[in-house]
C-alpha cells in the first residue's frame, strides 16, 4: 500500500469513527437542516431559545438518568419524583408559608430523598431497579395527589425565577447548562463518577476491587432524584404552579434521550454530551412538527422511529468494533 492510499484510508477511518461515535449529533444536524429547508420559522433566534427552554426539563431529567443507566440501572420514577418535588416545594411556600428559598431547597431535597429511597431498595433490599423505581413512580405520584388534593398549587417566586428570564437570557437554559456541566464533571472527574462506570460495566469485578457498590448505587439514585427535583422546579417554575399531573410519562422521554445519546442499557457506557444531544433531538422533532402543524399523533410515531433508529445504529456500531 502506498503512503497516499494509507493516509486516505486513515482519514476515511477517522471520519467513519467520528460518525460512529457521534451518530446522534449527526442525526440532530440532519434534522435541523431538514427543518431549516422545510420552514423559515425554524432557524430563528427566538425559536432556538424556545428549543433550549423546552429541552431543559427533559435534559435535566435525562442527565440524572444518565448516572443510573451508566451504573446499569433504570429509573422509572423521575417524572413522578419531579412532580412530587415541585408539589412539596409549592406547598411549603403557599400552604405552609415558608420562605421561598427554603421551599426551593425543600423541593430539591425531596427529589434526592425519593431517589435515595429507590437506591436503598435496590442496593440493600436487592430489588431490581426496574421494580424499585416502578414502585416509587406510583408512590411519588400518589403523594403528589395527596398533598395537593388534585389541585395546582402556586410556586415560590424563587422557583418561578428558575422558569423565567434573567434579562434577555431564559433561566431554564442557564439551569440546563449548569446542570449539564455539573453532571459531566461528576461523571468524568470524580471518584464516584468513575465508580459508576465500573459498577455498570461489571458489578462483581467492581465489588472485588474494593468499590463500595451499594453506596455507589444509593448515591446514583439519589443524584437521579436530585436532578428530577431540579427538573420539577424548572417545570413548575415555567408554569408558576405545581401541577399534580405534571411530567406524566417524562421518564420515557428521559430514557429515550439517554439511549439516543449513545448510552447502553447494559451499563458502563454513556456521556452527558450525548444525553444532551438526545434530549435536543426529541425536542427539535416536536418543535419542528408543531411548526409544520403536523398532528401530534404523527409526532409520537416519528419519535418512536427515531429511538429505534438511534439504538439500531448503536447496535450496528458495536458489532463493527468487535469485528
Amino acid at each position: 500500500m502506498t503512503t497516499a492510499v494509507k493516509a486516505e484510508k486513515r482519514q476515511h477511518m477517522d471520519i467513519k469513527k467520528f460518525l460512529a461515535n457521534n451518530g446522534a449529533l449527526v442525526g440532530l444536524l440532519v434534522l435541523c437542516l431538514a427543518l431549516f429547508i422545510a420552514t423559515p420559522d425554524f432557524l430563528t433566534a427566538g425559536n432556538m431559545l424556545n428549543i433550549g427552554i423546552q429541552a431543559s426539563t427533559i435534559a435535566v431529567l435525562a442527565f440524572g438518568m444518565t448516572f443510573v443507566i451508566v451504573a446499569a440501572g433504570i429509573d422509572l420514577s423521575v417524572g413522578s419524583v419531579a412532580a412530587l418535588s415541585a408539589m412539596v416545594s409549592a406547598s411549603m411556600f403557599t400552604t405552609a408559608g415558608l420562605n421561598g428559598w427554603v421551599a426551593l431547597l425543600g423541593g430539591l431535597l425531596t427529589g434526592a430523598a425519593a431517589g435515595a429511597a429507590s437506591g436503598m431498595a435496590t442496593a440493600y433490599g436487592r430489588l431490581p431497579s426496574f421494580i424499585a423505581t416502578l414502585a416509587m413512580l406510583s408512590v411519588a405520584r400518589g403523594l403528589t395527589l395527596v398533598i395537593s388534593d388534585g389541585r395546582p398549587v402556586r410556586t415560590a417566586d424563587q422557583v418561578s425565577f428558575l422558569g423565567g428570564n434573567l434579562g434577555p437570557i431564559p433561566m431554564p437554559i442557564v439551569v440546563l447548562v449548569v446542570a449539564g456541566l455539573v453532571a459531566s464533571f461528576l461523571l468524568n472527574r470524580t471518584v464516584i463518577g468513575r465508580y459508576m462506570y465500573a459498577v455498570g460495566g461489571n458489578t462483581e469485578a467492581a465489588r472485588l476491587s474494593g468499590i463500595p457498590v451499594q453506596k455507589v448505587l444509593v448515591i446514583v439514585f439519589a443524584l437521579s432524584g436530585l436532578f428530577a427535583g431540579l427538573a420539577g422546579m424548572l417545570l413548575s417554575g415555567r408554569l408558576d404552579s405545581a401541577q399534580p399531573q405534571a411530567a406524566v410519562g417524562y421518564e420515557l422521554d428521559a430514557i429515550a434521550a439517554v439511549v439516543i445519546g449513545g448510552a447502553s442499557l447494559a451499563g458502563g457506557v454513556g456521556r452527558i454530551s450525548g444525553t444532551l444531544v438526545g434530549a435536543l433531538v426529541l425536542v427539535v422533532i416536536r418543535n419542528g412538527l408543531n411548526l409544520l402543524n403536523v398532528s401530534s399523533f404523527w409526532q409520537q410515531v416519528v419519535i418512536g422511529l427515531v429511538i429505534a433508529l438511534a439504538v439500531g445504529i448503536d447496535v450496528l456500531r458495536r458489532k463493527n468494533t468487535i469485528h
Binding site: M120, A121, Y124, M136, V139, G142, Q243, R286, N290, F297
Partner: protein
C-alpha cells in the same frame, strides 16, 4: 447486626410500597349515614374539575343521607371496567359513572344493568347502553359561546389557533365542533393551526410557543380547557390579554384568577360541583321510584371580566 436489620426494614418498606401500589386503585370515600349505598366511579381525580365534581356529589349525598363510595379509575378504562364489575357484586343500589371513555363504558356498565342496578352518567355519555340518565354540560353550546366571546374580543377579525384536548374524548369533540360552528359566523376570522396539547398545561406551554413561532400574527387562542389556556397565557407572556385574546373552557379557580388579572379574556364555566350534585339528586329520585329525564343538561356560562366576581368563591 445493624446491617441486617437495616436490610430487613428496607424489605418491609419495599413490601409496603408494593401494597400501596396495589391499593391506589380503590380509593374509598367516607362512610355516610345509613341509607342507600351508591358508587361514584370517576375517570380521574388528578384534575381539579373532577375533584370539584366529587365534592359536589359528596355534599349532596350527605344531604340526602346516602352512602357514597368514590372510586377513581386514574384515566384507565380497564380499571374502570373492573371497578364497575366489583360494584355490581358488592350490593350497591345505584352507580353514577363518569366514564373514562364513552365508547368502552357500555361494556363496563353491562354487568350493572344485568343486575338491575340503575346507572347515571355524569359529564360524559355512555355510548350504546340503556342507562337511566346523562347529566352533562352542554359542550357544543359552550363551544359556540366561546367562539362568540373570542370573536368579540378580537374585533371579529384576525387569526386564531386552537389547542385541542385529548383526541377522541367527547369533551374535545363537542367543544371543538361547537367552536368551529360558531366561528363560521365570522368570515374575517381564520383558524391557522390546530394542535393537541392533551388538556395539559405544560404541554400547552410548549405547543403554543411553537405555534406562535410559526404564526406570530395570531390575535386569538381558543383552548379546549382552562389548563391549556393557562399554558398558552404563559407562552404569550406580556402579550396575553393585550395583543392576544385567550378563551378557555371549564371555569377553574386559576382561570378565574387569570380573568381577574386581565390575562385571560373569558372561559366557559362548567359547574362541576353542580354536575356532581345533580347526578346524586337524580339518583336519589330514581331510588325513590321516580322517573327522571334521560338527558339533564347543566348550563354553562360565559365568564368574562364583567361577571367574574360572581364565580369566585
Amino acid at each position: 447486626m445493624k446491617f441486617t436489620s437495616f436490610k430487613r426494614s428496607t424489605a418491609v418498606l419495599a413490601l409496603g410500597l408494593t401494597v400501596a401500589l396495589g391499593a391506589t386503585g380503590c380509593n374509598r370515600g367516607e362512610e355516610g349515614a345509613s341509607g342507600e349505598k351508591v358508587t361514584l366511579a370517576v375517570s380521574t381525580l388528578n384534575n381539579p374539575f373532577f375533584v370539584d365534581l366529587r365534592d359536589g356529589a359528596t355534599e349532596a349525598a350527605e344531604a340526602a343521607g346516602m352512602t357514597l363510595e368514590v372510586v377513581d379509575a386514574q384515566n384507565d378504562s380497564a380499571t374502570q371496567t373492573n371497578q364497575l364489575a366489583t360494584a355490581a357484586t358488592s350490593g350497591v343500589q345505584g352507580v353514577i359513572i363518569n366514564p373514562v371513555d364513552s365508547d368502552s363504558a357500555a361494556a363496563a356498565v353491562s354487568p350493572l344493568l344485568e343486575n338491575d342496578i340503575p346507572v347515571i352518567a355524569v359529564d360524559r355519555a355512555v355510548n350504546g347502553a340503556e342507562i337511566a340518565s346523562l347529566v352533562s354540560s352542554d359542550n357544543v353550546a359552550g363551544g359556540k359561546q366561546a367562539a362568540d366571546e373570542l370573536a368579540k374580543a378580537m374585533g371579529e377579525k384576525g387569526k386564531v389557533i386552537v389547542l385541542q384536548g385529548v383526541a377522541g374524548t367527547s369533551a374535545s369533540r363537542d367543544r371543538g365542533a361547537g367552536f368551529e360552528e360558531g366561528i363560521k359566523a365570522y368570515p374575517d376570522i381564520e383558524v391557522v393551526a390546530k394542535q393537541t396539547a392533551n388538556f395539559d398545561r405544560a404541554q400547552a406551554l410548549d405547543v403554543a410557543t411553537n405555534l406562535l413561532q410559526a404564526n406570530p400574527d395570531v390575535t386569538g387562542i381558543f383552548a379546549e380547557n382552562d389548563e391549556m389556556a393557562l399554558g398558552a397565557i404563559q407562552a404569550l407572556g406580556d402579550k396575553a390579554g393585550t395583543e392576544v385574546s385567550v378563551v378557555g373552557f371549564d371555569g377553574t379557580e386559576d382561570a378565574l384568577a387569570a380573568i381577574q388579572a386581565g390575562t385571560m379574556t373569558a372561559t366557559i364555566a362548567q359547574q362541576p360541583s353542580e354536575l356532581g350534585k345533580r347526578s346524586v339528586e337524580l339518583m336519589a329520585q330514581l331510588l325513590a321510584g321516580e322517573t327522571v329525564e334521560s338527558n339533564v343538561p347543566v348550563p354553562v356560562t360565559t365568564v368574562n371580566e364583567e361577571n367574574v366576581e360572581e364565580f369566585i368563591k
